[in-house]
Symmetry: C2
Subunit: 115 residues, 2 copies
């Protein structure tokens, strides 16, 4: 990870809504799990607690990932991109997965449920 | 890749600016290379040409990745997430890398240039 840009939270460039996209990647195998949004408060909470906390655009509230499901994401590394307007989190995904469908990644098809 | 959601371009949910974030991942080793934005036209061009084409928010124009640098991204797979508002491209990155700094990934530190 030493070749990653370190995150200086004061250098993050939020958009006109005060949000920055956060890509979440599985630290074990590099699978992209999800993308969600953070504001300054949720980024600070993520760094303080060591687990991902997002901003829900639909509910307009802080959203601690896994608070309901238990499927928290333990942060292993954070970096920002070359112009500071996108974040990349590498995490240990606890539980079955990141997606509300039960899939490991939000980019996967949901698991088949046998009748 | 067979467990990935296939992309039905008609199901992509663009934001109020007509844009969707596109995460670009190296198909070889899973490294996240960059995140940029697409509108419907640049997504259609990406799928037609087989290489990534984005929408530049700063220049307000179509931006064929690698048109100047030669560092094109040959698309191997495309998927969308569970609510259709984020795209994930897996690509073969041609040339030194994806970043304008010369780094392989926009999330990497730029390469050290010897004096």
């Amino acid at each position: 990870m030493s070749d990653f840009r370190s995150l200086d939270a004061s250098e993050v460039r939020y958009d006109d809504r005060g949000l920055v996209p956060a890509i979440v990647q599985d630290a074990l195998d590099g699978r992209v799990l999800m993308m969600a949004w953070m504001n300054a408060e949720s980024l600070a909470l993520s760094l303080e607690t060591g687990s991902t906390v997002f901003w829900s655009r639909s509910r307009q509230e802080i959203w601690a990932k896994g608070a309901t499901s238990g499927n928290v994401q333990v942060i292993e590394a954070v970096s920002m991109d070359c112009d500071g307007d996108t974040l990349l989190f590498q995490v240990q995904q606890v539980g079955a997965g990141a997606c509300h469908t039960g899939a490991r990644s939000c980019f996967d098809l949901p698991p088949v449920v046998e009748p």
